[in-house]
């Protein structure tokens, strides 16, 4: 019997590619026949298909591969657009067929490049000099979008040395005129204009009265790095881990945690906290005028699925591709003002975002990082102006707890449209503010679709 022929260079190359498949970031340069063999003959059969690897193959745009995936692999919460990569929920105990092996083949965190991040700042104060200088060591490596509150009359003061795009009233007005947008981008809501203009995958947003905080070892906290870590490591919404985030170094899943749930899901929203001035409402702060948040809690945890939370816009980061559509300026209080406790816009869209995440199988984390919130405002004064907002939550929470989204809603846009319809139907008669909120949600989706189809998320630089 003659010896088998030696392996061809091509087969050796494909075999080597298979062994290193989790290290690739782009397969689109491979010729189609090679790609197909790598996918069907090798990767699938070797059981090396993980979420990241599937993303890689889908990103090549190869028709045969996409068709195969459509026919044979169940995608939950997938979204198809030329730029967007399908999201697949990892092996979940609720789905009896295991999509992927329980092995955590990739190291569970995706390395985020600086070029994938936008820092979005709503300027409610015109002089941003000290704000920007305090954040310089942390923000200067990122692209920054500053949106000036259109109600601010003074010129913005921004120090040099930043890669920054500024949007002011004139840009906002021009946009509104050209799109017929029926949205308010004033006060804290001007930041949403920044979300709309961004072309990055991740957004980090802090209020302009916040500066970097120090941790319990008196070290300056890099809030941006922590948010990025939160977003690029999995979340664990289906079962509570008593040692909090199991992906943090020095910790893990505890005894009793099902192995099938240990892959986690993608984290779409990272809610940070505050030292010094906590994000209390006006009644609470007026009752306890000297209350300050001084406890540093060294934890990040996933907020479980179906548990709702009040999302504070003071210190937040999110995956714009995944849930950009569900963070919007919709609920405006009658007496909305320029202090956080005179607004509810973030609480409203945050509830929406959590419901959307729960439905699509994404995670929401809360905890680190902390920022230091500077003193400001008179809570009693604010109470006199606007106290209705706090009462609205009595309706808002039960409403969102009752929302059930149809299986056909597979994107954040679909979900928001469904929720808007329910808001109109169930809350419209309770308070006209809700009816207007629903209209603005629809308007937001219209704009989001228009803007993102025109210029989708840019690839990382």
């Amino acid at each position: 019997m003659s010896p088998p022929p030696p392996p061809s260079l091509l087969s050796l190359a494909i075999h080597s590619a298979l062994l290193n498949i989790s290290r690739f970031s782009d397969l689109s340069s491979l010729p189609d026949p090679v790609l197909l063999e790598l996918f069907e003959q090798k990767t699938l059969r070797a059981g090396k298909l993980t979420e990241k690897v599937l993303k890689l193959f889908m990103a090549t745009g190869n028709d045969e591969i996409l068709l195969f995936i459509e026919k044979n692999i169940q995608l939950i919460g997938a979204q198809r657009s030329s730029n967007y990569i399908g999201r697949v929920r990892c092996c979940c105990v609720f789905e009896r067929e295991c999509l992927f092996g329980p092995e955590r083949e990739y190291k569970m965190s995706y390395t985020v490049k600086d070029g994938e991040v936008d820092i979005v700042i709503a300027a409610l104060h015109s002089d941003l000099t000290s704000f920007m200088e305090e954040w310089r060591p942390i923000f200067s490596r990122f692209h920054i979008i500053i949106v000036k509150d259109p109600d601010l009359t003074d010129n913005l003061k921004i120090p040099s040395g930043f890669n920054v795009n500024v949007y002011t009233k004139s840009e906002i007005d021009r946009f509104v005129a050209s799109t017929g947008a029926k949205l308010h981008f004033s006060g804290y809501s001007c930041r949403y204009f920044g979300y709309l203009m961004s072309r990055k995958k991740y957004i980090i947003s802090v209020d302009d009265d916040c500066v970097p905080a120090r941790d319990d070892k008196d070290l300056v906290i890099d809030a941006a790095a922590q948010h990025i870590t939160n977003l690029s490591t999995p979340a664990t919404p289906f079962f509570f881990n008593t040692l909090y985030d199991p992906f943090r170094p020095g910790t893990d899943f505890v005894r009793g945690y099902p192995f099938s749930l240990r892959n986690g899901v993608t984290c779409a929203l990272s809610c940070g906290l505050w030292l010094n001035l906590a994000d209390f409402d006006a009644p609470t702060q007026s009752l306890k005028p000297n209350a300050r948040s001084s406890r540093y809690v060294d934890a990040v945890l996933t907020v479980p699925t179906q548990a709702l939370l009040p999302v504070s816009g003071v210190n937040i980061a999110f995956d714009r591709d995944l849930i950009g559509p569900s963070l919007f300026p919709a609920l405006r209080l009658a007496g909305e003002g320029k202090l956080r406790w005179e607004t509810m816009e973030d609480i409203w869209c945050g509830m929406c975002a959590k419901v959307v995440c729960d439905h699509l199988g994404h995670g929401v984390k809360s905890g680190l990082p902390y920022v230091w919130r500077k003193e400001g405002g008179d809570a009693v004064e604010s109470l006199r102006k606007e106290w209705e907002g706090v009462k609205l939550m009595e309706e808002v929470l039960p409403f969102f707890q009752s929302v059930r989204l149809p299986r056909s809603a597979v994107t954040a846009e679909d979900c928001v449209l469904e929720i808007a319809g329910m808001v109109k139907e169930r809350l419209g008669s309770v308070n006209p503010m809700f009816g207007s909120a629903a209209d603005r949600m629809l308007e937001w989706i219209r704009l989001w679709k228009a803007v993102t189809s025109e210029s989708p998320t840019s690839k990382a630089v």
């Binding site: 008593t242 005894r255 009793g256 809610c271 906290l273 906590a278 209390f280 479980p304 548990a307």
Partner: protein, 326 residues
Amino acid sequence: MWRPFFQPYHLIIVQDGDPSKKINVPEGFDYELYNRNDINRILGPKASCISFKDSACRCFGYMVSKKKYIFTIDDDCFVAKDPSGKEINALAQHIKNLLSPSTPFFFNTLYDPYREGADFVRGYPFSLREGAPTAVSHGLWLNIPDYDAPTQLVKPSERNTRFVDAVLTIPKKTLFPMCGMNLAFNRELIGPAMYFGLMGDGQPIGRYDDMWAGWCVKVICDHLGWGVKTGLPYIWHSKASNPFVNLKKEYKGIFWQEELIPFFQAAVLPKECETVQQCYIELSKQVKEKLGGLDPYFTKLSEAMVTWIEAWDELNPSKGLANGGA
């Protein structure tokens, strides 16, 4: 070591294993000691529901206690120190946790709002700020973490050194792995649900006693509107058990929990179940019906759950305490 913290309180010691062995209890403690002979004598045939050669037998102590609150701790757990070096009074923290309300209906991002230095954040509905009664306080551990055997084998030298200064309520409908190493609960509220199952000698599984109780307890607390807190206090867990021994005990559990978690997550208790005992009996029926097919062990366990309730009611005749009353 625990003397300064435990001495003011009544102790119940449940001696597992050979009843002829003598346990040395130092002077100065007010205690009751029960060994297997006592368990058999007190419960008669119902003693079959109490595990033998497993720490699960401790739940017998819950049953015979006449107190309102229980604190249970493993014998390899000691007093921990907080980051400032001060010794942590775990019992005092558990009492604080149990005496202040929980907030299971909406997540407070600043964790326990009743702790000094914290409060409810903006957006928290005022109607929910009274909270719910706290039934369970689940403490944590520094040093040796509570990992399962596979994780222990992969990370034998990992130690929990992170002191997380928080107590938080586990949201309604969220299950968690309850560890019995450092646990306190309101016996008058949730005691009957704290059955630690059939483990150890003659059973196919071990190291799932507290897990089982935790899942049952959480489902019942969610149904009756009570809260479960986790976080502080920390104790110092000194001994890492042998991971190979653990693997043998947990082995079936690791596979079974894939079915058990969905079972508990989907468990619905009818409105008519208004007491813990009623909830627990109902759960035992669902266990028999839905998990009996997984393994005959669960049929046996469901029957033991009923025996437990019968024994509990016998030893704790009802004073007509209504649901939520205490």
